[in-house]
Each structure stands twice: as structure tokens, then as C-alpha cells.
């Protein structure tokens, strides 16, 4: 079932078109990653979806409710974790949560529950300003979970976070998705997108330029896994032997060795190494390259994700 459906989203700031004709949907239990470099338009897209920012064009439906005509009802279904920390520093963690729980009409027991979920129960009585960066991030996430939203929107929730808090946040998101929440997650860390997201939308300069699962994206671009071998011995013979292996699509000389293009590097690596060693060639080093979203992005835009 579709939880979020947005179509033709467009927003300009003076002479910058920050988002142009962005459309996508997210199903129940699905985690959708919006991947793009800084300034790509991720936050602007999310702000329009959450009803924080006016749209120049386009429509947002949450569970079939239109943001344009039933904003209050639609907003009730959305949990929002803004990119910038959005906390009241002079209130305690618990007071921050209580305030937003009241605004959303969520019960007190939800406050205790989300404190537990993000691991802040013990520090709930401390002022938010006294929290570490990671704890603030976790509180920031917790506020978005209070009212058990149908759609959880997280805008770079792990930016500048210590590894422990980062893992906790990612684990939280995974569990929520498993419970059936639809999740929209923006990041410019592609490892995170690969680890978490069922589907990824690649956004650059306000345009959604590609969309799909990692494998779909990779394959659509004709990207393949590669194995680079540094060898001592008869390269000509090795080429013939390796080319005969089932999953190997191509063999080419590569410096003092060979580069293989293969279907699935991890699967066929044992066969490749076995074939070489039985033919008297010595392997000095092996390098496996699996095309990732970084590669996809580079391919699509000619830019690195993090510049």
C-alpha cells in the first residue's frame, strides 16, 4: 500500500530552482533513500512533503490525504526529523518530548517509550543543552517517533554523529520499517543508503535523475563487479583459463596483471583463484570492486557525492 505519493514537486528560491518536477512514492514498510550531494534539493523536497514549505507546483498525498487541502490531517500522519537539530535547549529531554507529544496528541506513555527506543531514558531529566552531539541527534529522532506516524521523514539524521549514535539511529530506522512504517531518508553517505534503503532516488541539482534498488541502478548503468589481479607468470595462458569460467564476462590486461568483469565478484572469486593457482601462475594481490551508489552517482552526474 502506498503511504507517500508526491508528484511534480517544484520550488524555486529567487533565481535558484531548488527542486524541479520531483515525483516518487513510498510503500508501507519501505525505506526510501534520497541520495544526493549538499545543495541537491533534498531538504527542500522534504520540507514540501512535510508541509513546512509551500510548493510552487506539485502535490503530496499521505495515505491518500492531500497536503494542499487537508494539511492538518495529512501532517498528523507524518513524523519529521529535521536536518538541523530542532530541540529546546533549556528544556529537559523529557520536557521536549512531552511538548511535542501534546502538540500531536500523543500519550505520556509514548514519551517513555521513545526515550527507551533511542536509549535516553537515563538522561531524560537533563537539559537538552547538556547532551552530547549524539544524544541530541537521538532526541531529535525520538521527537519524530512520538505519535507513531505512518510516514517517518528523516533528513540526514546521522550527519556529524559519533559511530555509536549513528548505529543506534540506523538500527531504530530498520526496526521501524520492519514494523511497517514508511520511511523517507535523505543522506549523502552512500554506505548508509546502501545499508538501509530498499529503494534509492538519486537527486542532483533539483532533479530526480535515477531511481530503483541498488542492483537495478547498477545494472541499468551497465556497471559490473570487477576483480583486479596482480600476477607473476604466463598472462596469456591465464587469460584463456579465466575467460572460460562461467560468470566471467571479460578478461583484459591490466598493468602487471588482469582485470576481470564478472557477474558477482564474491561468488566467483574462489573459482578464479583456484583456476589460476592450478596453472602455475602466482597471485600477488587481488582487488574486488563492486559498483556502488557512489559509482552510480559518479556515472550519472560526473561528480563525486561528497565534494
Amino acid at each position: 500500500m502506498t503511504v507517500l505519493s508526491c508528484s511534480g514537486l517544484r520550488r524555486r528560491f529567487d533565481d535558484v530552482v531548488a527542486v524541479d518536477d520531483v515525483s516518487f512514492t513510498i510503500a508501507e514498510g519501505e525505506t526510501y533513500g534520497l541520495l544526493g550531494p549538499n545543495g541537491a534539493g533534498k531538504t527542500t523536497t522534504i520540507s514540501m512533503i512535510t508541509g513546512v514549505l509551500e510548493r510552487d507546483a506539485g502535490e503530496v498525498f499521505v495515505d491518500g490525504i492531500a497536503m494542499s487541502t487537508h494539511a492538518i490531517a495529512a501532517k498528523r500522519l507524518v513524523g519529521y526529523v529535521p536536518q538541523e537539530l530542532a530541540l529546546y535547549p533549556d528544556l529537559t529531554g523529557r520536557e521536549n518530548l512531552r511538548f511535542f507529544a501534546n502538540l500531536y496528541g500523543a500519550g505520556r506513555e509514548r514519551v517513555d517509550h521513545v526515550l527507551d527506543v533511542v536509549g535516553l531514558t537515563e538522561r531524560a531529566g537533563d537539559l537538552a543543552r547538556e547532551y552530547s552531539g549524539g544524544m541530541k541527534r537521538r532526541l531529535n529522532v525520538a521527537i519524530g517517533l512520538l505519535h507513531e506516524p505512518r510516514l517517518l521523514v528523516l533528513d540526514e539524521p546521522t550527519a556529524g554523529v559519533d559511530p555509536q549514535s549513528r548505529n543506534q539511529i540506523i538500527e531504530n530506522v530498520r526496526e521501524l520499517a520492519a514494523q511497517g512504517m514508511a520511511i523517507l531518508y535523505t543522506t549523502h553517505y552512500m554506505e548508509e543508503a546502501e545499508r538501509l534503503c530498499d529503494r534509492v532516488g538519486v537527486i542532483d541539482s533539483g532533479h530526480l535523475i535515477a531511481e530503483g534498488t541498488r542492483r537495478e541502478l547498477v545494472e541499468r548503468l551497465g556497471e559490473r563487479d570487477r576483480i583486479s589481479l596482480l600476477l607473476d607468470g604466463d598472462l596469456g595462458h591465464a587469460t584463456a583459463v579465466l575467460g572460460a569460467i562461467a560468470n566471467v564476462r571479460g578478461v583484459a590486461p591490466h598493468g602487471q596483471g588482469l582485470e576481470l568483469v564478472v557477474d558477482d565478484a564474491r561468488e566467483c572469486l574462489p573459482a578464479v583463484l583456484a583456476a589460476i593457482s592450478t596453472n602455475g601462475v602466482v597471485v600477488r594481490s587481488v582487488e574486488v570492486t563492486e559498483p556502488n551508489l557512489e559509482t552510480v552517482f559518479l556515472h550519472l552526474t560526473g561528480k563525486a557525492l561528497r565534494e
Binding site: I72, E95, I143
Partner: protein, 389 residues
């Protein structure tokens, strides 16, 4: 409305933890009012700077009108202290030994002179060391006798007859116009607040404009905190967010003013007047202050910028409105301009309350409410941009 209340309640909880807020809203105004009273209180006549002795050798109606209607009224307003003595000799002794600043000698036959159409004469004996007090006494006596003459002439001219007007009427008519004209320097003829109340009220209304800042400026803080985005994403009307912020200001303003009124009454002996009148003035004053500060906050980009501008506006309006010194005496353009400052209306309302009934505050309440309505409407218009990025 529930959301507005929630937003205001959260603001207030945060405010309650901010020590500087208490200093600005309560400690400073009380402290300054106290200091002003100590330093300046004596000059403004609050502590009865002049003590006058009165020796009435006339014992007629003209002398009594002067003593009762002119001098006792002046004494009642706190401007002077009065000592009635039985003889001229006693009066002179009091002046000589410095107990009295000056003495009024009402000669025997004063009433008869007036009755017979002769010029009335009141002698003033002054202490050489207190020329100001002596001058004031002289001008009091002079003004009364002048009025006696003027009233008699006027009555005679109207009646066109040789019939002499009863001296009691003359004396009463002459006395009736005197206290305000001479003792009070308020040219508007309105009653003045005593000095303690004046300082307490002036400081209270001046700092009120600082006290209400956090609420209306809070929107800018929320934007900086990032929490504004959360409020906008929450199922809450934008108008509730604005209302909540205004509400915070109003509550902070009313609470701090109430504390100031009570504290200055108990600690400094300020006399604010009938509670209902004071309440109406405080509430409309708080609304006016909230409106003014909201406009500034709505124009500013950051809360720091807003704070700076608000301080300037508060000081300018405060000075213009007579929070520090009475502008009503300045006259001219300044006096006209001062009508734009809620401070002026607040203080005027209190003075009217001291002089009349509770209803006397209504013009001031109306003026401040109008000020609040205009500034509030402007602020709401401007703030719409802030909550609609």
C-alpha cells in the same frame, strides 16, 4: 486555541528558568524606582520639603478659605506641611529657628477689607535660608489675593450693581482655582501622582517593554533552534503558533507588572490607586507593549537583532512617554509626540485614577488598546512571512 496555550506554556516554562528575565522584569525596575525615590524624591515635594506656619488673626471666612481650601489641600497632596499657630509671634519664631520655611500672617480685618472692596493683603514671612520655599509661599498668597480681586471684579461686572458679594462666596471662588494653578505645576490641571508612585510606575512601564520581548521574539529563536520547522510540520495552525507567542508576552507582562505593583506598594509605599483601574491600565499597557515589540521582532532577522532594536524602541518610547521625567511640562512638539507613547497614557491613566474614579482611566485604556490593535495587526501581517518561508 489548545495549541496556542501549549506553545505559550512551553515558552513560559523556559522563561521561568531564565534568571536574566527576572532581573529585567522585576529587580531592575524596582531597584531603579527605589534609587530615584531616594535621590530625587525630596526635590519633587514628596517628602514635604516646605513647612509653613499659619497665624490667623482674621478668623473670618476669607482667611479660613485660604487656610482650608488652599493650604490644607496643598498639604493633603503631600506638597507641603502645615502648622497652625495662635499668634504672629509664634509664627515668626518658627521661621527664625528654621522649623518653618515661611509663615503666612493673615491680618485681623482681612475679611472686612474684602467685604468693603479694599485690596486683600496676606503677609508672608520667609526664612532667608529657604528662598525657594518663601517664593512658593509668596506666590500662593499673591495668587489668592489676586484671585479675590479678579473674582470680585468679575462678579461686580456681571451683576451691574453696587451690591457687594458676600465675602464667603468670593473667597470660595478664589480658593477653588488655586491649588492646581500654584501648588501643582501640572499645566493640564490634572492631578499628579506622588513621586514614589510616579517613579515606580515609570520604571514598571519602561521595563514592561523589555519584559514582553521573549514571547514575541521567541519566533525568531524557534527559527534559529530549528524548532520552527517542527512546529510547522506539526498538525497545528500557523495562527496558533503566532497566538501562542503573543500570549507568552502578555502573561509575562501581566505577571511582572503585578509583582511590581505589589512590591512597590509594600516596599516603597507607592500608591497605585483602585485595583480595578490599575488592572485595566496594566492589561492594556501590556497589550500595547506586546504589540510594539512584536512589530520590531517581525521586522528583525534574528532575535539578537530584534533585542537591539527593541531596546532602542523601548528607550525612545519610554523617554518620549515620560517614564523618566514628565514630558507634559516640555510642551510643544515633544508633548504632542508623547501621545504616541503608551507610557504617557499609562502614567496619565494612573494620575487620572488618583484624581478621579475608576472610569477616569478609560481614555488611557482606550488609547493603549488602540495602540495595541494597530501594532498587533501590523506584527501579525509581517509575521505571516516568518511562518510561511
Amino acid at each position: 486555541m489548545r495549541h496556542a496555550l501549549l506553545i505559550a506554556a512551553r515558552d513560559l516554562r523556559e522563561r521561568a528558568r531564565d534568571r536574566t528575565a527576572y532581573v529585567l522584569a522585576i529587580v531592575l525596575p524596582l531597584g531603579l524606582a527605589g534609587v530615584f525615590t531616594l535621590i530625587l524624591g525630596n526635590i519633587s515635594g514628596d517628602s514635604q520639603l516646605f513647612t509653613y506656619a499659619v497665624a490667623d488673626a482674621d478668623r473670618g471666612v476669607v482667611a479660613r478659605a485660604f487656610t482650608d481650601d488652599v493650604l490644607r489641600k496643598a498639604a493633603a497632596s503631600g506638597a507641603i506641611a502645615l502648622r497652625t499657630v495662635s499668634s504672629e509671634q509664634e509664627a515668626r519664631t518658627l521661621v527664625d529657628d528654621g522649623t518653618a520655611t515661611a509663615a503666612f500672617l493673615l491680618p485681623a480685618g482681612l475679611t472686612e477689607d474684602v467685604q468693603a472692596g479694599r485690596a486683600a493683603r496676606i503677609e508672608v514671612v520667609g526664612n532667608v535660608d529657604a528662598p525657594t520655599g518663601t517664593d512658593v509661599a509668596r506666590s500662593l498668597a499673591q495668587a489668592y489675593t489676586d484671585r479675590l480681586g479678579a473674582v470680585r471684579t468679575a462678579v461686580a461686572a456681571t451683576v451691574h450693581s453696587g451690591v457687594s458679594t458676600p465675602p464667603a462666596e468670593l473667597a470660595a471662588a478664589a480658593a477653588a482655582v488655586l491649588p492646581q494653578a500654584v501648588v501643582d505645576e501640572d499645566t493640564t490641571g490634572r492631578r499628579q501622582l506622588d513621586a514614589k508612585t510616579q517613579y515606580a510606575a515609570g520604571m514598571a512601564v519602561f521595563f514592561l517593554f523589555f519584559a514582553v520581548q521573549p514571547g514575541v521574539t521567541g519566533l525568531l529563536d524557534e527559527r534559529r533552534n530549528g524548532t520552527l520547522a517542527r512546529l510547522l510540520a506539526a498538525p497545528v495552525r500557523r495562527s496558533s503558533i503566532l497566538t501562542g507567542k503573543l500570549l507568552t508576552s502578555v502573561v509575562v507582562g501581566v505577571v511582572s507588572m503585578t509583582v511590581l505593583v505589589v512590591a512597590s506598594s509594600l516596599l516603597m509605599g507607592a500608591r497605585w490607586g483602585h485595583p480595578a483601574g490599575v488592572a485595566a491600565l496594566v492589561l492594556s499597557g501590556v497589550l500595547a507593549a506586546t504589540g510594539a515589540m512584536a512589530v520590531v521582532a517581525a521586522i528583525a532577522k534574528t532575535s539578537e537583532q530584534a533585542g537591539g532594536w527593541q531596546a532602542i524602541v523601548a528607550i525612545v518610547l519610554g523617554a518620549l512617554g515620560g517614564a523618566f521625567f514628565p514630558v507634559t511640562q516640555a510642551g510643544g512638539v515633544l508633548e504632542k509626540l508623547s501621545l504616541l507613547a503608551p507610557h504617557r497614557w499609562f502614567l496619565r491613566g494612573l494620575a487620572d485614577l488618583a484624581g478621579g474614579g475608576v472610569a477616569a482611566v478609560l481614555p488611557s485604556v482606550a488609547a493603549m488598546t488602540a495602540f495595541a490593535a494597530v501594532t498587533g495587526a501590523i506584527a501579525l501581517l509581517l509575521f505571516r512571512k516568518v511562518v510561511r518561508p
